[in-house]
């Protein structure tokens, strides 16, 4: 992934509960609020609002979450004369199953990347995002997602970086290649490429060998009776 993740502030997950004096229970549902850096738009209000242009991919590492849903809030579009438009929350990803069986281990610590294809609609111009985690099984003490990152675009489209030269030289050791290289070299006026190359490699080897065996012990230049005495240094 060459793209750097989008800047956003991810709040701690909040456990949703239905509080009642008699019936307090673990609902198994958590919400993570994601807001974006504030952008003040000059033409509307002076109050800066959280805003994100586009989200192409959402990546995270699962930790025992069974289902995940994503809802996005669109930028409030001001109507003529009104101060703010309607705030809409739309569900972008509806109850995506992360663990095939909520009681069992599979999928519990997997890495997931939700791409554009899995979104119900293209996420653009949003002001906030909510990620809803659900874990109906009482077996797990704790569930969450880790290392959540949002990317602007799906990275599948960009080409992978070209391989370095030393990796693509698959026929480097074949005799035919060697002969070709030698004739090419002779044409250029380099009669003994092999011996130059092997000498250079030996020089490299010698230098590395020497570097490894350098002494790390101290000479004790500034040692005075085993301690570093600043006052004594000043007198000399």
């Amino acid at each position: 992934m060459g793209d750097r993740p989008l800047h956003c502030s991810i709040k701690n997950p909040i456990l949703l509960t239905v509080e009642d004096q008699k019936n307090a229970f673990h609902s198994g549902c958590k919400v993570i609020d994601v807001t974006f850096p504030n952008v003040s738009s000059p033409e509307t209000q002076t109050v800066p609002i959280s805003f994100c242009e586009r989200v192409g991919e959402i990546c995270f590492k699962n930790y025992y979450t069974a289902y995940v849903s994503i809802r996005v809030k669109f930028k409030a579009a001001p109507e003529n004369g009104a101060e703010s438009g309607e705030i809409k929350w739309k569900t972008c990803v509806r109850r995506m199953r992360l663990m095939p069986s909520p009681h069992k281990e599979s999928g519990s610590q997997d890495y997931f990347a939700i791409s554009k294809k899995q979104f119900s609609f293209d996420i653009s111009n949003i002001s906030a995002m909510r990620i809803i985690l659900q874990q109906p099984s009482p077996v797990w003490k704790e569930f969450r997602i880790e290392d959540l990152r949002l990317y602007r675009s799906s990275e599948m489209l960009s080409k992978p970086p070209p391989l370095p030269a030393w990796l693509t030289e698959d026929s480097a050791n074949s005799t035919k290649h060697k002969l070709e290289l030698q004739t090419k070299a002779k044409e250029k006026g380099i009669p003994n490429l092999e011996s130059i190359s092997s000498s250079l490699q030996e020089l490299w080897g010698l230098s590395e060998e020497m570097a490894i065996n350098q002494s790390k012990t101290e000479i004790g230049r500034y040692e005075v009776d085993g301690c570093y005495e600043v006052n004594l240094l000043a007198y000399t």
Partner: protein, 254 residues
């Protein structure tokens, strides 16, 4: 005149057996030493080794030379080398440094380094000393001694290799190498040495750059640039290539 006193002859002394004669000059110990050294050092040319050893026995007075001869008995890659270095250090410990003070100080250490490097161009020795030198009055521990001596021995090999490389690059056997080629080669070597030792990918890259393929492309690029920078002699070439080596030598830790 039958009673003429016989002149001084060997008969004056009581008849010595062969054994006593040998013991008088401690030839036995001498031979034992030499045989022991030959077996542990396994020189490529034992006869030369023997003659050098007996020559060096005359330099008994100069501790530094004695130490040097011991160090040069075997190649630095063999395990016996470390024992020889320890022996050399022990010999130099007998050096008198001050009143009733014996040991290896900066002066004798520097002398030893200089004599080990006697076959190298002077600028190389100066640069090396700048890195590993110790002040004259400082006491040298065995670790520092060993590291300095080892560096010198490896540098000796390095300088010999430089000469071989010079002859390979000297395509027309003119005694001089094109400065362009020398620069290209130097650059490749420095790039390889600059890489950190632990990064596997960089090591493979460096290996490729110094192999025939990478080297060919680099040399071709160099030769394409038509600028004429003149030639370099062996000494100049050696000095430049040794720069790459010396860059890996660490300064003495305080």
């Amino acid at each position: 005149m039958a009673d003429k006193k016989k002149p001084n002859s060997a008969d004056d002394r009581p008849q010595e057996t062969d054994r006593q004669f040998l013991e008088r000059y401690s030839i036995g110990t001498l031979m034992k030493d030499v045989l022991g050294k030959i077996v542990s050092n396994r020189p490529k040319d034992p006869i030369t080794f023997l003659s050098d050893y007996f020559d060096s026995l005359e330099d008994q007075s100069n501790l530094v030379l004695k130490a040097r001869n011991i160090i040069e008995m075997t190649h630095h890659s063999r395990p016996v080398f470390e024992m020889n270095v320890r022996q050399a250090y022990d010999i130099m410990l007998k050096q008198k440094v001050g009143k009733r003070l014996y040991g290896v100080n900066g002066t004798s250490y520097t002398d030893l380094i200089k004599t080990l490097c006697r076959d190298m161009p002077q600028p190389v020795t100066t640069k090396l000393l700048k890195k590993i030198e110790c002040l004259d009055y400082e006491a040298i521990t065995f670790d520092v001694f060993k590291s300095g001596v080892f560096t010198c021995c490896v540098l000796q090999d390095y300088v010999k290799l430089c000469e071989m490389l010079f002859n390979s690059l000297d395509f027309q056997s003119s005694g001089k190498v094109d400065k362009i080629l020398s620069d290209v080669v130097n650059e490749q070597l420095k790039a390889a040495l600059a890489n950190t030792r632990t990064d596997a990918r960089k090591i493979v890259e460096a290996g490729y750059n110094l192999g025939p393929d990478g080297l060919f492309y680099a040399l071709e690029r160099g030769m394409r640039s038509k600028s004429q920078l003149g030639g370099q002699t062996l000494e100049q070439f050696t000095i430049e290539i040794c720069d790459a080596f010396l860059s890996k030598v660490k300064f003495n830790v305080y």
